[in-house]
Point group: C2
Chain length 434, copies 2
């Protein structure tokens, strides 16, 4: 990329700066012949003399591959670096592991299914859909047993929702300061889910008057369970069987997972095989030994369900340095477990001054929202931050503010503002302010 | 599935009919022991006596697979039948072929990238992104040559848009009557695209006053070209580099394709390497020998760009027969190249009576829209049809109406109402009315 820095850049913010640079390079490059394989000879008559196109590229000179050989498509061979990544030291075994979404490589707010981060506690089973059952039992009038075909005979509902692990940002909180937004913020993804309203299915079973809590359980070897209050269950929870149009991926709970929109990911029980209805929470393993917030005084907060408003600048980031001065498109993602993102501000000086970012439509509740800021880089150091606000008025806190409330003990629910230090060489570093 | 038909169904439309059936089956099945491997023993204490769960399923008894071994995920092994399919006799070679989206297997309106239908004329090249160039030349003030990095320095735009081949439904029109919605309607898909506004890039080049038409050209061996009027180019066209968050798949034009929202798919030139600006259309090969509509009098209509409002019932369909009487969820997709879908009606008697379907939100312009009707099947023959209306007031025509205008000669732009005949055995047939 070094050649780019040799071009004559105008560092002003005038709209013509980018075009001037491009024009100059186009002319220079073609005269110099450095793009010799880029464009075909037969364009010569159509193009201006100074812009004479060189030879046909090799891929225009022979037939491409037969797509019929790929009944289920895959990415370009040139995009092999765009993958989920795990952190070997983070978990004791690969059967209890977590991998991270490459946020810095993504656009829009839909995460493609192959790149959705995933956390599992006992490996991922690949269950035959026709053999899977869901049982609803406990404080219900009629215990019910469902096949997948049964569930698909209830009214389908599709919604876009982000899914974030409670531990997203946990390594940051504990000071690991991994250098890349894939690791600092990559335990989040967003797809269009389809399934059945949990309320519809509970209504079918008939709740007894003292039914106040649910215990969903997974069919994986870890038998993941969490206690869910009835109010949330009847509000917007779904029993999902599809993501981005196709059936769930095995590591995302195929054939059935619970959706608890806006709440921490471990409650979205995968490979869902039963829902017990009770009158109080169960305090099972995964809501006592894990997934509780340890307060400064050594006591644990009982439950912390909601994923509060958060944002991250994905470009530039440690994985995506700046390679040229001048006009830049800053890109990032924001989300809130309480509803829609209302505004995102971006700072270039570590939080002293802020400017409002452009939000990409549609802005949907409990869904990732893409934001952009066009800016001009003069080659000096910059301290980049983003700050999300949601429709409830909640403002994403600084690390210092959150630390004052939380202390050092907690791991989960770090939604504090992230800082990238852009160095004069264009590289971005993960730094902590305050 | 035959066992389902042996259960005692109540064929009324009362809301409790489904639950009664499920309850009965749950009880019967468990007593009978036919679901012997479905639910774990240790639930026994929690469940009612009549609902005693059998043994733990095998997948709960051992660790699942390590997801770290799948840095780029793939569908469940049990979903291997969900693939794009081609029709061998339709094209002379596999290098000029087309494959079809399995619409009957999909939910929501997002198509996963691996299942997006695709048409190519000379195979699909897999071009190294860093070696690709786009040239803008012709009637511009400054001919420009862009790298992919250059294009990504313009403001990004993301939008959901369907893409439909002009020939979608062409086999129907010619009477092939292939039995399945994958073949009758599967040359359509819908993703979240990200790219740069074409207007932005043209403004950068500076249009001369007599610049009225564009000729985009692909870098594949077929060098696909189409003439695009300037009004459309400046309205909502995009130069797209991403789909559903990740870079375009090779068969979708990686690294760059033109988007012409709402217009026929062959204009969405893939592997886009140049855009020539001119003062009149070119009438190149792919807009004369192909992709024109031959009228009854033997003359060809010069251009037919817009994909008019259309809809298809995906479930039930020939690939997805009804397997049980009683409550059913009819599902389908509707779209219009002129904007948003306003309403979809469904008929159960071949178009004599209609009822309005439920539309899934968000309803976006030039985007697939999912519709549903809950209905009760009494086991008799049914003639299913769907009819889309868009926000301009346009109503999807019957085959008879369209045929009267078009005659037999045309192949493209068949947006007529499709009929599925549901037989008493639950199977769906592709039939033509009128």
């Amino acid at each position: 990329m070094l050649w780019r820095k040799k071009t004559r850049d105008s560092h002003t913010k005038t709209p013509s700066s980018l075009s001037r640079r491009l024009f100059l390079r186009a002319t220079t490059a073609l005269v110099g012949g450095t793009l010799a394989s880029a464009l075909p000879n037969r364009l010569a008559t159509a193009a201006n003399a100074e812009n004479l196109p060189p030879n046909l590229p090799s891929w225009s000179q022979h037939l491409g591959f037969s797509v019929d050989d790929r009944p289920y498509g895959r990415p370009s061979q040139h995009e092999g670096h765009v993958v989920r990544r795990s952190v070997k030291w983070l978990t004791a075994t690969r059967e209890s592991s977590v991998n991270f979404t490459p946020l810095h490589e993504l656009d829009g707010f839909v995460t493609p299914n192959g790149l959705c981060f995933e956390r599992h506690h006992g490996g991922a089973p690949d269950i035959p859909s026709q053999d899977h059952r869901l049982m609803i039992h406990g404080l219900v009038n009629r215990p019910l047993l469902f096949t997948m075909d049964d569930l698909m005979r209830f009214p389908p509902v599709s919604r876009f929702h982000f899914l974030e692990c409670a531990a997203n940002g946990g390594m940051e909180w504990r000071g690991s300061q991994l250098n890349g937004c894939q690791y600092t913020h990559g335990m989040v993804h967003c797809v269009q889910w389809t399934g059945v309203s949990l309320k519809t299915v509970l209504d079918e079973a008939g709740l007894k008057s003292h039914a106040k809590w649910l215990l969903p359980e997974g069919a994986d070897s870890a038998a993941m369970t969490r206690s869910i209050p009835m109010e949330k269950a009847l509000d917007d929870c779904l029993l999902a069987y599809s993501m981005n149009g196709e059936r769930l991926r095995p590591e995302q709970g195929y054939p059935l997972r619970l959706l608890v929109p806006g709440w921490e990911g471990n409650m979205w029980v995968k490979w869902l095989r039963r829902i017990e209805v009770g009158d109080q929470p169960w305090h099972h393993r995964e809501e006592t030994s894990k997934y509780t917030d340890l307060l400064p005084d050594g006591k644990a907060r009982r439950f912390t369900w909601v994923m509060e408003a958060k944002s991250i600048i994905t470009n530039p980031s440690p994985e995506k340095p700046l390679s040229v001065k001048g006009v830049q498109q800053l890109k990032g993602l924001a989300w809130s477990g309480r509803g829609k993102i209302k505004r995102v501000d971006v700072s270039f000086d570590g939080g002293m001054n802020w400017q409002t970012a452009r939000l990409e439509e549609p802005v949907l509740p409990k869904c990732l929202t893409r934001f952009y800021v066009e800016w001009n880089w003069d080659g000096k150091s910059v301290m980049l931050q983003s700050r999300a606000m949601d429709e409830t008025g909640y403002v994403q806190p600084t690390y210092a503010d959150l630390h004052q409330v939380r202390g050092e003990n907690s791991i989960y629910h770090n939604n504090s503002i992230q800082t990238w230090l852009i160095n004069p060489n264009g590289e971005a570093e993960n730094v902590r302010l305050g």
